[in-house]
Structure formats: structure tokens, C-alpha cells
């Protein structure tokens, strides 16, 4: 049985086929998420997904769970409210590099600072896929996009490092070439009671590939593989040696108090009861 078939019960079959291009990394990332979810022994019915806008943010729409497809960049704001309203839900956020780090950059660092118990899968294809190949805040310096016809002038954000520095209790980066590590990291993120950020470096053959003379997904995967450096090795390398490399591994994995637990603690102190769940449906509060 193929991977895809195995996971069919988790998909909204009535929405298939999906919109992703052939060779896009999003399919492999969906499979990695579902494998991690099973490994973590999560109750799929208790998962609620939130996403912003972009190809990557379309993923929750194909999964058979409650899903909130929100506005561009704002997924983490909606997720913060959802998780605060019902801390029993396992809230998972799918987002892209543009969604999370450009328009949503402020929400990203603040959600990390709060260490709110969300699992964020950030699909970093170094480009704006959905709008047709404009550069993003993670596009490598010198790479090409429709809005960088002479090469990108800016230096990219290192997202996993940024989020770790902002206060997340779990942060990691992998690529679609290291699916097994990715699965283990997503599993760790799902189990971590705090803000968990898993950046997945992936290929967008349609736009990043075409604009940067990497015509196929296979060619892109080969470059990704060749440029990958494990964090343990990277720690011993100079900045110059690390230029253009993708450092993979964990950037934060610490114990830290969590936002909605703290809110609940105050509620118990002040009212003698836990934060209310489903209160909108009640007249007697």
C-alpha cells in the first residue's frame, strides 16, 4: 500500500485532487505530519488546524479535522485565540515562509515569546508560490524571483534560529530530503507542551525552481541534499563556510512554562474554576 493510501482516512476525499503542482514538497510534508501524528499517538479528532494564505496554508483544507483557513500572515493570531478559548484542543498551524516571516513576522515572534502550546509547521520554499514566484524573506541573497529579476538584494531570515531566540521551547529545521528526521521532529513538537516550530526547507519546482535554473523537483532535492549541514557539524564551521548551507537539527528543546496553563492557573486562583470551555452555548455561567 502506498503512503498516500495509508493516510486516506485522514483526508477529505471529497476535496481531492488537491491543487499542488507535480513535484511540490507539500504532499510529502502532509504525509510526514500524519506519520508523526500517529507516532505521537495523537487523537486525530482532537486536532484543530489553523493556516494563513499560500499554497502551504491550503494543507488543512484537505485534512478531515476542524480547520480555520484565515488571512495572510495572521494564522498565529487566530490560533492564539482558539487555543486560549479551548486549551484541550491540539492546535496545529500550517504556514509558509511569506505567511509566517513576512506579513506575519510580528505574530510569529510574539507567539514564540508567549510559548503558547501550538505546533507550527512552516513550509519554507524560499518563494511566494501561490502568487507566482516573488521573493520572500527567506529567499537566498542573489536568488531570482519575479520581483527580483536582477537577483535578491536582501539577506534571508534564519527562521528556526529566530523563533528559538524569540522564546519558543521547541524549534527545529529539516528538509524534505530528511523525512525521517522531520517526522521525529514533528512528533516531538506535537508532544511538547509549548510553542513548537518545525521549519521544513522544501522545493517549489514551479516557481523557485524555474526562476533559478533548477527545472525539476529531483534537481532541487539534489541541491538541497548537497547543501545540508547537520547542526552539530555547523557549530564547528565558520560563517563563510556556512554561506548558502541549510543547517538542520534542533535549535531549541527546553522545558518552559506555557501560556494557556498560566491563564488557567490565574483563573483557578481568582474564580476557583478552570478557564471555561464552550461557554458560548450556555446561559448559566
Amino acid at each position: 500500500m502506498s503512503e498516500k493510501n495509508r493516510f486516506l482516512p485522514y483526508l477529505r476525499e471529497d476535496r481531492l485532487p488537491h491543487i499542488f503542482c507535480p513535484g511540490c514538497g507539500n504532499g510529502a510534508i502532509i504525509n510526514a505530519f500524519l506519520a508523526a501524528m500517529e507516532k505521537a499517538e495523537m487523537d486525530f479528532d482532537n486536532i484543530a488546524m489553523v493556516s494563513g494564505i499560500g499554497c502551504s496554508s491550503r494543507i488543512p483544507g484537505y485534512l478531515k479535522c476542524d480547520s480555520l483557513h484565515t488571512t495572510h500572515g495572521r494564522a498565529l493570531s487566530f490560533a492564539t485565540g482558539l487555543k486560549t478559548a479551548n486549551k484541550d484542543l491540539d492546535v496545529v498551524v500550517f504556514t509558509g515562509d511569506g505567511d509566517a516571516a513576512s506579513i506575519g513576522g510580528n505574530h510569529l515572534i510574539h507567539a514564540a515569546r508567549r510559548n503558547i502550546n501550538l505546533t507550527v509547521i512552516c513550509i519554507n520554499n524560499n518563494i511566494y508560490g501561490m502568487t507566482g514566484g516573488q521573493i520572500s524573506p527567506t529567499s537566498p541573497k542573489g536568488s531570482f524571483g519575479t520581483t527580483a529579476p536582477y537577483g535578491n538584494l536582501d539577506s534571508p531570515f534564519k527562521l528556526a534560529e529566530l523563533v528559538a531566540a524569540a522564546g519558543a521551547s521547541y524549534s527545529a529545521r529539516w528538509t524534505t530530503v530528511q523525512i525521517e528526521n522531520l517526522v521525529l521532529s514533528i512528533k516531538a513538537g506535537l508532544k511538547n507542551k509549548g510553542f513548537s516550530f518545525i521549519e521544513v526547507a522544501t522545493q517549489c519546482p514551479t516557481y523557485f525552481g524555474r526562476k533559478n535554473k533548477l527545472k525539476t523537483a529531483t534537481a532541487m532535492a539534489a541541491v538541497m541534499k548537497a547543501n545540508t549541514v547537520f547542526k552539530s557539524a555547523a557549530d564547528r564551521m565558520s560563517a563563510r563556510e556556512l554561506e548558502g548551507k541549510i543547517v538542520v537539527g534542533e535549535f531549541a528543546n527546553i522545558q518552559k512554562d506555557e501560556f494557556t496553563e498560566n491563564l488557567e492557573r490565574i483563573s483557578v486562583e481568582k474564580s476557583g474554576k478552570k478557564t471555561l470551555i464552550n461557554s458560548a452555548y450556555s446561559t448559566e455561567l
Partner: protein, 376 residues
């Protein structure tokens, strides 16, 4: 039984929210609305609720939409600069039919202008602020008691029609202190859970209405998107009929219930030649001006609009049908004036008394305008 309190408008708003069942507030500090957030930061944990100070107003609007889908009545409060930032997510709430309450304590605008002075300059933004076609519900309180009552009403309307409701207050009402009476048995509309049937459609095209809304985690596994969606909630962005049916339903559920939603109060209009029309804080001066004019044997009445949106066309037409002139008093350079003119302009002379600068128009200033029109 009833209890009395002598409190500030913004505190009354917070109190009303809790009475209405609000258990989640997300916001960002801004004068002159901040006391709403401060009061709820203190009071919500005492009733099992949660308060979050977000990183900005965009996040605040997003968070309360998330909170609402999490099964909690949710609210934010802000002023001009903040309501500008919230607009995209407010549109998302209309499109996804998410009940939320947004309180705007209006201040001098545009830009940061006059943080501690009053205005009513966000009225058109309440109507058209987000891109697209939608029909907002907005309430304007004229007293501290009404700020309490209308906040409760806003939550009830939000649940009844599954949509955002705006409470368009102003700095005068937000910061003044008055006595309010809080009844024991306040009417609170609870959200209805849908039935779990095989053919349940979260965005069903039902006649004149609002489909019951499940909470995330209830097992309905629904998809909610701001893209044009079919009755299942699935994106269908290229079929003209899907978009037409969705948007028409979202608009019609408010428009077809205007007689239930709209609220207008009036006095002395049957035989009046001149009628003052206002809403929010200026109503206080309008009432006094009309009373003084009457005492002076001038045929003057007044209309107080509780619900600027949807605009009460029919009620206004009926109440003012015998008057030759209508004077719209508002704290901007003309916003609701254009609505009044649209509705009455054909048969009535509609005048504007638009005041900016931050001070409430006084009864004398209104009387001067009436005398200019010719109130004999």
C-alpha cells in the same frame, strides 16, 4: 431585584460584556478605549474567562475570531487607529459568519489626531471599512447605561445573526461617569449547537437565516475559509453562483430582519417642522435643545438612532414624514448625514451640523442651527 453602580462608560461596557457571557477578550491598548481592556483583564479571570494583550490590533481581531470558533463569546475594544488595522480580519469574520463584538470608542481622527477627544468619525468605516459587500450591525450608545445595555445587545445580535457586531461609542460616553441599573434577569442569547446529522451543512443556504455554528472540537470537522465557499465550507472560488448565493445570504440575513434589528427613539416629531437627528453622545444635547425649543413654542422634535447600521430607512421616513426640515447633528464633517439625505432628501430639507475638534455640540449651538433654519 436590581443593583445600581456609579461607573465609567468603558467600565460599564466591560461589565455588560461579562453579563452577556463574554469569556474572552483580546486587545491592544489605545486611548480612549483602554479602560475596557483594563477592566476585563481584572474581571475575566474571576469568572473563568481569559484576557490576552495581543501584539497589535490585527492580532486582536484574529484572536477573537479564533476564540469564537473555540466556543467562547469573544470581544475586542479599540479606537480609530486600531479599527483601521482590524479591517481585514473583520471582513474575514463577515465572510465566515463568526460572531464577535468589536467596541470602537471613537476619538478625533484621521491618523492619531486627538487621542483624548471625542468624535464620531469612524461611522463609515464601520459600514464599509473592509473590502467587499457585507451588511454590518452597529449600535451607538448615548449614556453609560446604554453602553452597558448595548454591549449586551451586541453579543445577542452577534449570536442571533452569526456576524460581527460593532459598538460605536465615543470618548464622551467612554469616559463619563453615570449611574447604571443592572437588572437581575438580563436576556442573554446562547449559541445553538447544530444537530449531528449526516447531511449537516455548516454554511447552508437556509431561507432568511443563520445556520447553527459548532465549536472546533465538537466533532463536526468543518472547514472554515475566507475564500468563497460552498455550503460545506469548501472553497469554490470560480463559480459566480456560489459567490452570489453566499454573499446574498450573508447580506440578506441582516437586511431581511431590519425591522427586528433597527432601533430608533423619538419625541415630539408628529407635529414638528424641524427634527434633530443624532446618535451617540450628541443625542444628549439634541434632547435638551429640542426641549428648550418646545418650551419656546418652536415645533421641534428629535430622533435618536440606536442602530446606525443597518440604517433604519423605514423608521426614519415614518417618524419624519410631517417635517419640512431635518438637522443631522454628528461629530464629524458629515457621515450619517449622507444616509439621512439618501432616505429623506427627496421630500425634506436635510441639513448638517457636523462638529469636529473634540467637544460635544452644546444645546445652545444646536438651537442656533435650528433658528438659522427657521424654527418658529
Amino acid at each position: 431585584m436590581a443593583e445600581e453602580f456609579f461607573i465609567q462608560g468603558n467600565e460599564a461596557c466591560a461589565k455588560g460584556a461579562i453579563a452577556a457571557g463574554c469569556r474572552f477578550f483580546a486587545g491592544y491598548p489605545i486611548t480612549p478605549s483602554t479602560e475596557v481592556a483594563e477592566t476585563l483583564a481584572r474581571e475575566l479571570p474571576k469568572v473563568g474567562g481569559s484576557f490576552v494583550q495581543m501584539e497589535d490590533e490585527i492580532a486582536s481581531a484574529g484572536a477573537i475570531i479564533g476564540g469564537s470558533w473555540g466556543g467562547t463569546k469573544s470581544m475586542t475594544a479599540t479606537s480609530g487607529p486600531g479599527i483601521s488595522l482590524m479591517q481585514e480580519n473583520i471582513g474575514y469574520a463577515f465572510m465566515t459568519e463568526t460572531p464577535i463584538v468589536i467596541v470602537d470608542v471613537q476619538r478625533g481622527s484621521p491618523s492619531t489626531a486627538q487621542p483624548t477627544m471625542a468624535s464620531q468619525s469612524d461611522m463609515m468605516q464601520a459600514r464599509w471599512g473592509s473590502h467587499g459587500d457585507y451588511e454590518p450591525i452597529a449600535l451607538s450608545p448615548s449614556s453609560v447605561q446604554e453602553f452597558f445595555d448595548f454591549t449586551i445587545k451586541a453579543f445577542n445580535l452577534a449570536e442571533e445573526y452569526r456576524c460581527p457586531v460593532l459598538v460605536m461609542a465615543d470618548e464622551v460616553i467612554g469616559h463619563m461617569r453615570e449611574k447604571i441599573v443592572v437588572d437581575d434577569n438580563i436576556e442573554v442569547v446562547a449559541r445553538k449547537k447544530p444537530e449531528k446529522t449526516d447531511d449537516y451543512l455548516p454554511f447552508e443556504n437556509i431561507e432568511n437565516g443563520t445556520t447553527p455554528m459548532p465549536a472546533f472540537g465538537d466533532g463536526f470537522n468543518i472547514h472554515v475559509t475566507g475564500l468563497t465557499h460552498d455550503e460545506r465550507g469548501y472553497p469554490d472560488t470560480n463559480t459566480p453562483e456560489t459567490h452570489h448565493n453566499l454573499i446574498k445570504r450573508i447580506c440578506d440575513k441582516v437586511l431581511n430582519n431590519k425591522d427586528k434589528i433597527c432601533s430608533v427613539k423619538s419625541e415630539g416629531c408628529d407635529d414638528a417642522d424641524i427634527i434633530i437627528v443624532s446618535y451617540g453622545a450628541p443625542v444628549r444635547s439634541a434632547v435638551e435643545a429640542a426641549n428648550r425649543a418646545r418650551a419656546n413654542n418652536q415645533k421641534v422634535g428629535y430622533v435618536k438612532i440606536d442602530t446606525p447600521w443597518p440604517f433604519p430607512d423605514e423608521q426614519l421616513k415614518e417618524i419624519t414624514k410631517n417635517a419640512s426640515d431635518v438637522l443631522v447633528v454628528e461629530m464629524n464633517l458629515g457621515q450619517m448625514y449622507y444616509e439621512v439625505d439618501r432616505v429623506l432628501g427627496k421630500d425634506t430639507n436635510v441639513h448638517l451640523m457636523g462638529m469636529i475638534g473634540g467637544l460635544l455640540p452644546t444645546p445652545d449651538e444646536i438651537l442656533d442651527e435650528i433658528n438659522k433654519i427657521g424654527g418658529n
